[in-house]
């Protein structure tokens, strides 16, 4: 046995340590692999969820909402502009109220005159003493009709006062309506435009985001693929480390048992101690190279894994951020909620518009009733006036037949007839003055009904859009929160995994220890430098069938080469095989 007992026991301890090193990294890589599998499935799911969310912005429902909002904006502006001219509709009514006062005053004046004439007539009739001629009926009737006429004029005046109050109310209502509702309807239109603008911006953002997501998909797939390739370093490193342990184990057997003619190492049977020591030293040095290469490759791939997982985590945060940009408002709320809020306000404003319009309609109805009453009063005046005229005419004829005795009464009768003509003229003036009012009010009511109908239709449309928006809000919010929650969880999982991949930290001191100990193995027998140069063939024979990996053979070949010929090899994955290389 070679006199290198210390060396052999040192190597035996090393073999155990090296094997332990290989075993310690497996659980960490299993954990990373689980994270990667979970992450890959979740990432694909996240992208699909995002695509579904984006599709909801381009759905038929959303298009319909957009159309409704656009129509509401347009119609609201039309209604708002219509309000400006509405005060003019009241002009004929106001004018009628102002102008009807004059003929009414005339009628009042005439009524007074008729009253005075009636008294005169009574006095004069009493002075007519002609047999068979009696003017008492005439005087009584004139008195009665005169009183009736005065009453009718008073009623008409009272009706006018009521109408004036109503018209003032109507003017106030129009004024308030115009001031409040024009601005509010314009606001409705503006809000709807804001909603449309929101939607359009989000749809654009969504389309851009989809494009970004598509680009990210390829990038994510590459990172995952990179991770899969890199994770295999665990298996490769374990095998390399095992081969190193096996090589050292073989060495210990050779040194302990010595080569025999019948044994595996018959080629070494003539080796003296120095030769064996040189062989042993060279094998150890070679294993150090193999170990160094394996640990460098391992470290490099672990760095790639960390980089890929960090990149994937960043991608997840990007998805989170993109989701926020597209689906949440400036305050971080669901942007559809903003649209919903505007639509709710608009619906409320439209309701107020309809109520205000209905109030005006009611007031105008009252005005119309007031004028109708006035018309009826004027009809009564006309009827009374017709009777007075007939009475007057009869009396005139009667008085004419009486000659001088009937002359004074005849004048009164003429005066009455004159009052009647004037009454007719004034009544006609009243009727003419208030005639346009009915049409104006009818026009106003018709227009109001039409606009109300439009506003109610708008309100219904807006409320329908609101109902759909509410559904959309709930669905979107749930989906967005869910997606963001999954992003959070996934990113945290990857970040935790990255921070737990301290394999390099775990491995570094152990690797360093193994390398140092390999370097420090003492050989009792002195080793000749020249001997080292000639032992290369022996090392090849010793480890010929040992290697399974191209990388190991390459290391050995480089080790074999003269120092000047040694080149750096990169600890990269094996080159991709062609299909011809793969298939038999």
């Amino acid at each position: 046995m070679l006199d290198s007992g210390i060396a052999i026991s040192t190597i035996r301890t090393l073999i155990d340590d090296v094997r332990q090193l290989g075993l310690s990294i497996e659980p960490i890589f299993i954990k990373i692999g689980e994270t990667l599998a979970e992450s890959a499935a979740d990432l694909s799911g996240l992208q699909q969820e995002f695509a579904a969310l984006s599709a909801s912005l381009e759905s038929d429902d959303m298009e319909r909402i957009g159309l409704v909002l656009g129509e509401a904006a347009q119609k609201s502006m039309v209604l708002s502009l219509a309000i400006e001219g509405e005060g003019d509709l009241l002009a004929p009514v106001t004018r009628a109220v102002q102008e009807v006062g004059k003929p009414l005053n005339s009628l009042k004046q005439i009524g007074s005159e008729v009253g005075a004439l009636s008294v005169n007539a009574k006095v004069l009739a009493a002075q007519v003493h002609v047999a068979g001629i009696d003017f008492s009926v005439f005087t009584q009737e004139i008195g009665r009709l005169g009183a009736l006429g005065s009453d009718a004029v008073q009623k008409t005046e009272a009706s006018l006062e009521i109408v004036k109050v109503m018209v003032n109310r109507a003017q106030d209502a129009f004024s308030a309506f115009g001031k409040d509702n024009a601005a509010e309807l314009t606001q409705v239109a503006q809000r709807m435009d804001i909603c449309l603008s929101f939607l359009a911006r989000r749809q654009d953002a969504s389309r851009n985001a989809i494009n970004r997501m598509s680009a990210m998909t390829k990038d994510i797939e590459e990172k995952i693929s990179q991770c899969v390739a890199s994770l295999q370093i665990n298996d490769l490193t374990s095998q390399r480390i095992d081969h190193i342990a096996v090589a050292l184990d073989k060495l210990c057997h050779l040194l302990e048992e010595g080569p025999t003619k019948e044994g595996e190492y018959a080629w070494a049977v003539d080796f003296d101690s120095a030769h064996l020591a040189a062989l042993a030293l060279t094998v150890c040095t070679l294993q150090k190279s193999q170990f160094l290469y394996a640990s460098e490759a391992f470290s490099k791939e672990v760095d790639k894994i960390i980089s890929s997982l960090t990149g994937l985590s960043s991608d997840v945060w990007d998805i989170h951020s993109i989701t926020k940009d597209v689906f949440q408002g400036d305050k971080g709320e669901n942007f559809i909620r903003d649209v919903q809020t505007h639509a709710e306000t608009s619906a409320r404003l439209l309701d107020m518009y309809v109520s205000a319009k209905q109030q005006i309609c009611t007031i105008m109805g009252d005005v119309s009733e007031g004028f109708k009453a006035m018309s009826q009063d004027v009809s009564a005046i006309n009827s009374i006036d017709a009777d007075i005229r007939v009475m007057g005419l009869n009396a005139t004829f009667k008085c004419g037949r009486l000659g001088d005795s009937g002359r004074a009464l005849g004048v009164v009768a003429q005066e009455l007839r004159s009052c009647s003509r004037r009454t007719e003229e004034s009544s006609a003036a009243v009727v003419t003055t208030i005639a346009p009012v009915a049409q104006a009010i009818t026009d106003l009511v018709d227009r109001t009904n039409t606009e109300n109908s439009q506003a109610e239709s708008l309100t219904t449309q807006t409320e329908t859009a609101l109902a759909e928006l509410t559904n959309l809000v709930q669905t979107l919010e749930t989906s967005v929160l869910g997606l963001q929650g999954r992003c959070n969880r996934l990113a945290v999982l990857m970040e935790k995994t990255v921070s737990s991949i301290d394999v390099n930290k775990i491995m570094a001191p152990k690797i360093s220890s193994v390398l140092d100990r390999l370097s420090q193995i003492n050989w009792a027998t002195p080793i000749d430098d020249q001997m080292l140069e000639t032992v290369q063939d022996d090392v090849r024979k010793f480890l010929a069938s040992h290697y399974t990996m191209e990388g190991e053979r390459t290391i050995h070949a480089l080790f074999d080469a003269l120092p000047a010929e040694r080149t750096e090899i990169s600890a990269t994955s094996a080159e991709t095989q062609s299909m011809d290389d793969i298939f038999f």
Binding site: G33, Q232, D235, L236, T548, E550, A574, Q577, F583
Partner: protein, 121 residues
């Protein structure tokens, strides 16, 4: 119905990566921890492809192939080696035993899927 692949490797992390790659492409995967386990599973489950490591305890890949080719249900099933080995001697041995293809680790996902797709039809 999905295709089933029998994945045999004594490394848990390697089985995990193979499963991840094949599942992502829609294949079902049955795992075995070595040649003996693989043989038992090939007998008990219908499989469309065998993907196996070469150097395993209890039964290595070459011996496994020879055993599998004796089973009527697996005789014509494509068998692919997925191994760190790259020596021509071993490849020739595998070919003679009845292997269909030989992929050297570390594998690229795309490449493994292309090979599986080609053999599975």
């Amino acid at each position: 119905m999905g295709k089933t692949i029998l994945s045999i490797d004594d490394s848990a992390s390697m089985r995990q990566m193979v499963r991840f790659t094949l599942n992502s492409a829609g294949y079902d995967v049955i795992e075995a921890i070595d040649g003996l386990d693989g043989l038992a599973k090939a007998r008990s489950s219908p499989i469309n492809v065998v993907l196996t490591d070469l150097n395993m305890p209890r039964m290595d890949g070459i011996t496994l192939i020879r055993e599998l080719r004796e089973l009527p249900e697996v005789k014509w099933v494509p068998i692919i080696f997925l191994t760190t080995e790259s020596s021509n001697d071993r490849k020739a041995e595998a070919k003679a035993a009845g292997a269909t293809a030989w992929i050297v680790k570390p594998f690229q996902q795309e490449q493994l899927l292309t090979v599986v797709k080609r053999v599975i039809g």
